[in-house]
């Protein structure tokens, strides 16, 4: 099999003959031309891998020929070596700035040309391999992007449908994953006894793994809720589920709540999650006091033996509940100061009446804390308004 094709362009027949002889003997396929024009015609018939061209030729000089080859997207990747009798450094540099890849000064030894052609073909092979690998990478990347887009759409489908309604309350969410797909999840379920079960969780890490686990967290929560019980038993059940099905470094922070509209009480468990805000009378709009629904508890999925604690708070008609994941308050300024819970409370002190408008206002203001680089982590915000 021929090693590759070389187009030799020179107006002097003896030079063409000598180069042809040596290159053919070394196994290359050789094409020849007497000047640039002939060479372009030759290239119309057969595409060489490498061109060796003289500079000074009638009809079309090597300069012009090189410019044409390198100026045409279809041929610019063909390796171009210039043969030049001009021995000044200036003209050599001139040739390379035309776009030629290399040069051989005249007079030359045929062996020298052959050695250069051999090394050039090694380069060409390498480039071909790199291009092939690059094509594969691009195709792979595209496939991954398509799958990610699909997974992201699927994940959006795991979130409650909006506008959300639960006995005597309505809610909305803002879900902003950093990588198109994320580890945040929430769920709100009406219970047969007229209460409402709520869960918001943030799985450690980002991307596909976190997203998979977030789906698992949601399923686990919904299973626990179906079994009955209260936030405390849900927490134990979910912790067990997560300990059994995740790897060493994977766990979730979560807040689990059960709102009883009859008694106006909210029972909840904090599992390492940021404490939600209760805005007293917040659905009326205007200035309102917020309460932090504090509590301490381990993250889910750490250890099956860890204890959880249930807390209890008042939640009256007309109150607003703000659930969120830490990405919302970890907006960091250049001086390293963060928005934090205190900043969110300042924002929540005065919000618009509707839950949609309130959610937009919270996101806009949190983002404004550092406009140039607002959210570095997945952000989820849920606003639940209890009708007055």
């Amino acid at each position: 099999m021929a090693k590759g094709s070389v187009l030799v362009v020179d107006d002097e027949a003896p030079i063409r003959d000598i180069l042809s002889f040596y290159l053919k003997r070394a196994g290359y396929q050789v094409l020849t031309a007497g000047n640039g024009l002939e060479a372009l015609e030759e290239m119309g018939r057969s595409r060489p891998d490498l061109i060796i061209s003289d500079l000074r030729m009638p009809e079309m000089t090597g300069d012009e020929f090189c410019k044409r080859v390198k100026g045409d997207p279809a041929t610019r990747d063909i390796y171009f070596i210039i043969l030049t009798a001009l021995d000044g450094t200036a003209s050599r540099i001139g040739s390379l700035t035309l776009g030629a890849d290399d040069m051989i000064p005249k007079p030359f030894h045929a062996q020298e040309v052959l050695a250069k052609v051999d090394s050039t073909f090694r380069l060409i092979e390498m480039q071909k391999e790199i291009k092939r690998q690059n094509r594969e990478l691009v195709a792979f990347q595209q496939r991954v992007q398509e799958e990610m887009a699909l997974a992201a759409a699927l994940q959006m489908g795991l979130l409650p449908k909006l506008p959300g309604k639960a006995q005597g309350s309505h809610y909305t969410h803002r879900y902003l994953p950093v990588a198109g797909i994320g580890g945040d999840i929430y769920s709100i379920l009406p219970l047969p006894d007229g209460c409402t079960a709520m869960m918001i969780a943030d799985v450690s890490g980002h991307g596909v793994t976190a997203a998979l686990i977030s789906a698992m967290v949601k399923t686990s929560f919904e299973n626990q809720v179906r079994l009955g019980g209260d936030p405390l038993t849900w927490a134990y059940g979910m912790n067990e589920d997560l300990c059994r099905s995740t790897l060493a470094e994977q766990f979730a922070t979560a807040w689990l709540g059960r709102l009883d509209p009859g008694s106006n009480r909210l029972r909840y468990v904090v599992a390492g999650h940021c404490a939600p805000l209760r805005i007293v009378g917040g659905t009326k709009g205007g200035l309102h006091r917020s309460e932090v629904l504090r509590g301490k508890g381990f993250m889910l999925g750490l250890d099956e033996q860890l204890p959880f604690v249930e807390h209890d708070a008042e939640f009256l008609p007309g109150d607003r509940l703000v659930l969120y994941t830490d990405g919302l308050v970890e907006v960091e300024r250049e001086d390293r100061s963060m928005l934090e819970e205190a900043g969110l409370r300042r924002i929540c002190a005065e919000l618009p009446v509707g839950s949609e408008e309130a959610a937009d206002s919270v996101i806009t203001q949190a983002r404004a804390y550092n406009q140039s680089a607002p959210f570095m982590d997945d952000v989820t915000l849920v606003i639940l308004d209890r009708q007055a």
């Binding site: 450690s204 890490g205 980002h206 060493a248 470094e249 994977q250 301490k296 860890l306 830490d326």
Partner: protein, 112 residues
């Protein structure tokens, strides 16, 4: 980029961390801890968090996994010198009660 230094104090290994511990650097930290545990097989692994400005959930996960792996090999993991911001994160996640935490490195080493 995280700055991590390790040294040996008798049968204890000390890992000092400086910087922001988040998702981007957990792989780097995981390798160091894994290698320290594997090569030195310390009775006590002390992790000094004095220079840590921020730790996110991936970082916490890594520390929990480190504690579990040290436990399994019969050793102990002590944390020390938690800056206020890190302490806050530990409090919020109740990890203050999950780890043995010491005010100074000396205390952490003595607590073996």
């Amino acid at each position: 980029m995280l700055n991590i230094q390790t040294r040996q104090e008798g049968t204890a290994s000390v890992v000092s961390i400086q910087g922001k511990v988040n998702f981007e650097v957990t792989a780097q930290l995981r390798d160091v801890i894994r290698e320290t545990v594997a090569t030195a097989q310390p009775k006590l692994l002390a992790i000094n968090l004095e220079g840590v400005s921020f730790i996110d959930s991936s970082g916490l996960g890594l520390l929990v996994a480190a504690r579990n792996s040290v436990d399994k090999s019969g050793g102990k993991l002590h944390l020390c010198c938690l800056p206020a911001t890190v302490k806050k994160t530990f409090d919020q996640t109740n990890l203050t009660n999950y780890f043995s935490i010491f005010a100074t490195e000396q205390d952490a080493l003595r607590g073996a």
